[in-house]
């Protein structure tokens, strides 16, 4: 049986982790490769790198991080941030990314999704959607896509866009609620459910995790195939093992081999 996935996400800027993870035995908390190794050993199901470097000039730094991670980890890695064209996808895939996440470029021109999927297969292409609720109380719910960290509205309906990019060849949707991101109030479950129901590809829920029950809700109520979180893991609030055991106890199918403390 296919298991639900728990995915820690690391923000990387100029080759360094922005919010270093709080693992006691980490030699260099700012080194993304060290963090990746720690999550690999902890039993994370996948890892996500989000590059938030402002300029494209230092792309080599990110590629080097991905290359060193692939050399040191036996875990699947998704890399996103700053992907502008199919050549960027290729460079990341050749460096060792298992999946590449496309965000703003897909909003500007969705055809990049089809071109990338044709070259690398749908399974390697993730479209990251950042959505905010724009409907008022009493109205039927509507979410709009925002870019640039939630600052720029696009006027594009998030559900329709998710359906369109999945049809074009996206193999996964990484869905972040910009309303919930950083709040620790839990996922926007209505948004997650609406997107999961609209597409036939897996949806990764993101934005707002504060408790372990939030992870369970994202799957059970949101219909997500995987849950992504950053700060609860980085700051050591919960370990990957605690998260996965909690989800398993709640009745979700989880992979418990490879967890710290499991023989």
């Amino acid at each position: 049986m296919l298991k639900k996935r728990v995915i820690p996400c690391l923000d990387v800027k100029n080759g360094r982790v922005v919010k270093g993870i709080n693992f006691v035995d980490l030699a260099d908390v700012g080194d993304p490769v060290e963090s990746a190794k720690a999550y690999d050993a902890a039993g994370a199901d996948e890892l996500c790198f989000l590059d938030i470097t402002a300029s494209h000039e230092n792309r080599g730094t990110l590629l080097d991080v991905v290359r060193r991670t692939a050399e040191n980890c036996f875990m699947p890695v998704t890399v996103g941030g700053g992907v502008r064209d199919v050549e960027d996808v290729r460079a990341l895939m050749l460096a060792g990314a298992d999946k590449v996440s496309i965000n703003t470029a897909a909003v500007r021109d969705p055809s990049i999704v089809g071109r990338a999927a044709e070259k690398f297969g749908a399974q390697a292409i993730v479209v990251a959607i950042d959505a905010k609720k724009v409907s008022g109380d009493g109205e039927s719910p509507r979410w709009e896509i925002f870019t640039h960290g939630g600052r720029n509205p696009t006027g594009i309906d998030a559900i329709g866009f998710a359906r369109a990019v999945a049809d074009l060849g996206a193999g996964e949707i990484l869905l972040t609620s910009m309303d919930r991101d950083g709040t620790k109030a839990g996922f926007d479950l209505a948004l997650t459910r609406a997107v999961s129901d609209a597409v036939t590809v897996p949806v990764v829920a993101s934005g707002g995790v504060g408790t372990l029950d939030h992870l369970v809700e994202g799957i059970r109520e949101g219909g997500a195939s995987a849950v992504l979180a950053a700060s609860i893991f980085h700051y050591g609030t919960f370990s990957i093992a605690e998260a996965k055991r909690h989800m398993a106890r709640a009745g979700l199918p989880m992979r418990l081999d490879g967890l710290e403390g499991t023989p």
Binding site: K3, A70, N72, F74, M93, G121, P202, S225, D257
Partner: protein, 216 residues
């Protein structure tokens, strides 16, 4: 032991190279992993590994443009019986035909077609993405000592297509995803895994070590 890891521009080899080295350590043997597509590298290899990430057609074309590669593979594997492992699309390429974005001829080492996954339960998402357990359909040395079945170890899958071999004789293991998904195929000295052993932690390293110890 010389392990040839075929580099034909269809994906990254770092993880596979590293995992093979770790598996080699586990077998207690000495050896090296040689990345390349040189027919001489293949001719001298004791084990041959063909990875592959991407679309079937694209990988097939990449394989075909390397001069002498297919002949060298055919000679080493089918001629001399060198143990061969195909991973993901490297496994799918063993089929007669791939049906991803048109029909593309495969190597035809394991008769069958690579077809889209169609889980019986429409609620199941495609791609089949993530960790799944394996069920053995035929005994095979590469599965020696690996816990199988619903409570067994997990393998990492990332695919929308799978290889359906003609007949059942060449199917070694399946994963359950709204029906059986071809997880491992094998014939003579050829083995192929749809999942990624190099990303499958404990199960993956064990399977690779078994492959290196395998003396068919």
């Amino acid at each position: 032991m010389r392990i040839a890891l075929i580099d034909y521009g269809a994906g990254n080899l770092h993880s596979a190279a590293k995992a093979l080295m770790r598996a080699l350590d586990e077998t207690g043997q000495r050896g090296e992993v040689i990345m390349g597509a040189d027919p001489e590298v293949i001719a001298m290899a004791d084990r041959i590994v063909l990875p592959g990430d991407g679309a079937f057609r694209d990988c097939r074309e990449s394989l075909a443009v390397v001069k002498g590669l297919e002949e060298a593979l055919d000679h080493a594997v089918r001629g001399k019986g060198r143990p061969f492992l195909g991973i993901c699309v490297g496994m799918q390429l063993l089929a007669t035909r791939g049906l991803e974005r048109g029909i593309t001829a495969g190597l035809d080492w394991i008769p069958g077609d690579v077809v889209p996954l169609k889980p019986a339960d429409p609620a199941l998402k495609v791609p089949h993405m993530g960790w799944n357990t394996l069920a053995e359909t035929a005994r095979h040395p590469v599965l020696e000592g690996i816990a199988l079945g619903p409570d067994g170890l997990h393998a990492y899958f990332l695919h929308s297509f799978h290889l359906i071999p003609e007949g059942t004789g060449n199917l070694v293991a399946t994963a359950e995803y709204g029906g059986p998904v071809s997880a491992i195929v094998g014939r003579d000295t050829v083995i192929g895994t749809q999942f990624h052993p190099e990303k499958s932690q404990v199960l993956g390293v064990k399977l690779l070590a078994n492959f290196l110890k395998w003396a068919p």
